[in-house]
Symmetry: D2
Subunit: 98 residues, 4 copies
């Protein structure tokens, strides 16, 4: 189980508002486990699935009308123990004592 | 008002667990408005403040014992209307109809 | 034709030097057109190929002995005209007048 | 001595071409040591200087007419030995045997 953060950005759309494009990208996620953040989307899954979803999210922005798309992806992948959205947040909060 | 996502990563620490370092970086945030995500931290503020916090978070990882630190920052800055953590999430959810 | 920048980073290796891991990741590129930069690798190709190479580069870092890998990817994809390594650099230099 | 990779991206400009904005951002670099890559700019310097340059590059994109700017920054900072553009490339090439 790995984790991916992805942010899709249409370029040259004529309006600085991009939420319409982001919403289209999120629709492809189906029943994948994800969390929407103010700067992107975090998805849990195995590496193969994550990259397949990244490809579909990126393409969805073209489908929504963009002619240029810049997609930023960060993958955190750990083989010694499972990575989960809850587990990562909990580990930091424990160290903070909150 | 802009928004920054930041992720600090110690390199070469001997353990794949990094939450201790992340917690130290979060301690410098004081009363800045931030949100912890599974892949980083999102902070609201003006550009000057955000970059000053980024510098301090990065340095906190050295203070915690790292000898090499890779910090990833993404800044979203908009001059036609305010950007807020709640506003960005709400805009996407409205488009999704949720 | 799209373009990808990718940076692979092993976490918890015990040494701040990572060039050995980066070299292993580059070996999977075969005859893809790429350019090594001081902060990553830029590869030209179609989206499908780029994501397949990203997956293989990421996995190569595990093969080289890492137990945790953080991979950062940025994809620039444009449908109105071809994106090439030379073309992107040239466009900026022309605007700079150099 | 640290190293920063920075990419500035105007959002909502009405044209998918952004090289004009990138050129304006590069003009603020003055005599800093930098290298233009197909996906961004790599700058050498100490942390304080790098973040000051990042701020100025980001603001230059607004000066060039953008109303929204997304800037991506990655900082690699190492305290056990100096990081240089040439040194990082050379270390990887040596491991590759080229």
């Amino acid at each position: 189980m790995a984790m991916m953060e992805i942010s899709v950005l249409p370029v040259g759309t004529g309006s600085p508002s991009v939420s319409r494009f982001v919403a289209r990208a999120l629709e492809v996620l189906g029943d994948a486990k994800y969390e929407l953040t103010p700067m992107g989307t975090v998805v849990e899954g195995d590496l193969e699935d994550l990259l397949r979803l990244a490809r579909r999210m990126h393409l969805a922005v073209f489908d929504a009308g963009a002619v240029r798309v810049v997609t930023t992806i960060r993958i955190d992948d750990r083989r010694d123990k499972p990575l989960t959205i809850e587990g990562k947040i909990r580990a930091v909060k424990e160290k903070l004592g909150v």
